[in-house]
């Protein structure tokens, strides 16, 4: 599995210039925000040197524990910029656990412990100087169950930008986010209505609009369509297609067809018996066509042909 055989499309960066995939700006001057912590700056800059530049995430031997129970073992993978990466596998295989470790949403769960390393643009996500709020500001997340806030549709989207101080052009920002989430036409006449009155599919798209309104770098989607009917699911999948390129997207899904439809690359997780109890781990990670057409691992083949789980 080489990472160099990839066909790259030029990815628009946030400022709109097409950027060659290999070029990530490396700052050498001290950053204004971190003057107080020279060590952090130093190590961060240093770590940039040996980073494969197109990787947004690099997981390196990641294992996750909840108390004494190990939920995930030995995951090593690179998630590429601007692509849609799907995580599939049977229930309990640790794919959601892994996803939530990418923006530290597991931190608040009692007994959570991680080993190995998750690097984001070369920075250790679990490093000692890392600010979790900053992590989540760059790496947004949409959850399995739609969780709109008990506020108006407008305020759901405007809330996070307001917190971040993006007050200028706020209503344009809200509109663009809602358009981006393919929800604008349905809600433009009732922006002041409660978000709780929307249908499940609309609520989920609102949650996506809410996430993209602050222009994160990455979107993590945790089975975003599993609670929705087929039509709403279709709308979400179309939406993922339209967001591709603008954001790096990692999606967990139960539904293999969905992974095949939306993902550039697919990772297959499964349960492996290590010692006494089964532990989730990464089995195979490759181009989506390869995973579904010509998987190399027999366990992947069994799963994608429906012989398992």
């Amino acid at each position: 599995m080489s990472i160099d055989d990839q066909t790259f499309r030029p990815q628009p960066t946030p400022n709109g210039r097409a950027q060659a995939p290999g070029r990530v700006r490396i700052r050498t001057e001290p950053l204004p925000g971190v003057i107080g912590s020279p060590a952090a700056t130093e190590s961060a800059t240093e770590s940039h040197v040996h980073v494969a530049p197109e990787a947004v995430f690099e997981a390196d031997g990641v294992g996750i524990f909840y108390g004494k129970k190990q939920a995930l073992i030995d995951v090593t993978m690179r998630i590429r910029r601007g692509q849609v990466t799907a995580l599939i596998g049977p229930s309990g295989c640790g794919k959601t656990t892994f996803l939530r470790s990418l923006n530290r949403m597991n931190d608040s769960i009692g007994g959570f412990r991680i080993e190995g390393q998750v690097r984001y643009h070369g920075h250790d996500i679990y490093g000692s100087n890392v600010d979790t709020v900053e992590v989540r500001r760059r790496i947004g997340m949409v959850f399995q169950k739609p969780n709109p806030f008990p506020k108006s549709i407008y305020d759901n989207v405007a809330w996070a930008p307001k917190n971040l101080g993006m007050r200028r052009g706020l209503s344009e920002r809200v509109e663009k986010a809602l358009r981006g989430a393919a929800l604008w036409d349905e809600v433009k006449d009732r922006l002041k209505d409660s978000a709780l009155g929307l249908s499940g599919g609309q609520q989920q798209r609102l949650c996506i609009a809410r996430a993209i309104a602050i222009e994160p770098d990455v979107l993590l989607l945790d089975e975003p369509a599993s609670a929705l009917d087929p039509i709403a699911t279709g709308a979400i999948e179309d939406l993922i297609h339209s967001l591709k390129g603008r954001f790096t997207i990692v999606i967990v899904t139960h539904n293999m067809q969905q992974a095949a439809r939306v993902a550039d690359r697919t990772a297959f997780f499964s349960l492996e018996t290590r010692g006494e109890r089964p532990i989730g781990t990464l089995i195979e990670f490759d181009e989506t066509e390869k995973i579904f057409g010509a998987p190399r691992d027999p366990r992947t083949r069994d799963y994608v042909t429906g012989r398992f789980g």
């Binding site: 923006n103 608040s108 709020v133 997340m141 969780n147 806030f149 008990p150 996070a160 917190n163």
Partner: protein, 332 residues
Amino acid sequence: MSATPPAGTASLKLARSNRQSPARKRADRFGDLALFLVCAAAALLALLVIVLIAKEVIEGAQPAISKFGLSFVTNTEWAPPLEKFGGEGVILGTLITSAMALAIGAPVAISIGIFLALLAPASVRNVISPLVEMLAAIPSVILGFWGLLILGPVLVSTIEPFLHSTFGFIPLFGEPQTTGNSVFNAGLILTIMVIPIIASVSRDLFMAVPRELQDGAAALGSTRWEVIRGVVLPSTVSGMTAACLLGLGRALGEAIAVAQVIGGATESHLSLFRPGGTMASLIALQFNSAVSQLHTSSLYYLAALLLVIGIASNLLASWIGQRFGGAGGVMR
């Protein structure tokens, strides 16, 4: 399970004996009916007590109601020897002390709820929560006694002069008196009483806010306080309002502790540092020593007003809980 027989075997035994005789079946029909009637009677008894309370209190107030009418509420003079009874002074006192208790107590109590439910680790919560509840368990007569002997002197020697010199231009912060028995003292004692009530209700409310809602806010790069202000507080407004009404009801109706520290005056004034009175405390202080039938009846009148306010605030709290929130008043 020493006190409890294992459920399975008990019911089996019952079932076996049950199948036997028709006499047993008749007994069961009678037993079912009897237990139902007894339970229903108990529930009815509760309703009956409330109705009786309203009837007795209003009947007792009748002479005063027919003599003074609604002007009782605005008459300022309370002079038992002259047969003059006007409630404005104590009604105002009730409003001021309760408002003070709620104005200080509610924000503090809600902050405590935030700390216990959302910030403190479980080990800390399990220590502080019982302590806060313990504060609610202190009998009002002891709290009032403490307010009289300990808090009052401190207030009159330091805090009241300071507030007067700083905010003296506001009529509330008038000239301090020679004793610590004042409306201010009563307001503080009531604050101490309402805090544990509101704090434990809001703690439960905050703990019931769905985890995924908070995660959703956190995943947008929000700080702890932004999650609380943006999601937790708005989704519990109705529950918190109900909790504050509960606290208000407690503050309005507290008789003993207020009677001990407020100084037992009846004239109508706005100064926090002068002695005053509240409706409930006046009843406690004068009921046993009423000088005339009209005096007693006027105290009943105050009780009737308190009763109306009390029931109204209860119904309002219950209505808010039902109208705007689910079981616990958490809106989702």
